[in-house]
Subunit: 95 residues, 5 copies
């Protein structure tokens, strides 16, 4: 999974019918401290994440292994909100 | 999903029979403002998108989770047209 | 799908038995004009493509959604020969 | 599979229910000597790996082919701890 | 598939039980002449490849479409040993 920051949201009226009422959040990959290091991508939220949260996103077919995303045409899902990250014994991020 | 701009289209006569009558659009990944930042790729349209539209594309097996693309050899699908993007509380794109 | 140029072919005697008689072509990703911009990779041909052709290739599990590649250990397939590409109203490639 | 170093761990309270009690480790891709060359990502541990270990991680749907990760929304799994790596006849890493 | 050179091997005692007795080879992507251009990764051998061989590797779920790798947590497999590569009519590699 990627460590990512939720930076915003996307609104779409015309979309696959299976995406109705799905929350589409804009995420950017971060490093272990929560610093953004990647380009924006859009993931479906399944854990009530909000802007600013540090999250984990799963890609590909794994993005469809939640009750929210099963059988839908989405390739990225937010499946966890990060409380803290520890690297080499030091806390590098805490929510 | 990637945020992408539809920049054109591809025409193919000789193709897998399951792709008959599928609309093949050329897309480029963009940033959160709609500025192109990626190389061109081709996605199957499922939402009647047109050139110039900002869209979301899903890749891999997820690209086959629409009625248009089920069981077809395609690895990218346009599954939403973007109305607007909001980053850190500001509208960065509006259709 | 990637837009790619067929630049050559690979010969292999020792291979998975399900690949017997499959044509293995060397492809390079191109831009919308057909100019090569990517590293070489090998795709299974399913549309009788030939060297020099501009084609579309599908990757991952989608590469197994043709009668030629079903249940075989291949992750890239040529599923269309491109006739023409149009970007922003101009023909950028014609076969 | 990627050769990767376990550099830390992630803690998450709010997550997909199928991830309950799963150990989330932060990994970085390394070269054949164990030197870190990639950005951090998070993988589910299935082999009781610990910080500092050199491991193999499998991505995508393959990450769900263990008893620990079956049907869960995860796209990366640690499925082996590396004892040693040999390149061109020389031991480049030994645990 | 990637064109890759087998450069070494990995030894692992603690691993997913389905990987018992699987041969784990270290590969690097090459260009069409066999020159290494990529970072090392590990693939399961299914064609009795050896160090120095030029091979094809398939990634993702396609890596599980061999009798050796079915249902196992591996995302890369060696499914062919390359005899020769021909680009633009010239032999660029011969075993």
């Amino acid at each position: 999974m990627l460590i990512a920051r939720v930076v915003g949201s996307a609104v779409s009226t015309i979309k696959d019918e299976k995406l109705k009422d799905r929350k589409l959040l804009i995420c950017c990959q971060t490093d272990e401290t929560g610093k953004v290091i990647g380009k924006p991508y859009v993931a479906v939220d399944t854990v009530d994440a909000g802007e600013g949260d540090l999250v984990l996103t799963a890609a590909g077919s794994s993005a469809r292994q939640t009750t929210t995303t099963k059988n839908t045409p989405v390739d990225s899902v937010i499946m966890a909100v990060i409380d803290s990250l520890v690297v080499e014994g030091k806390v590098t991020f805490r929510n």
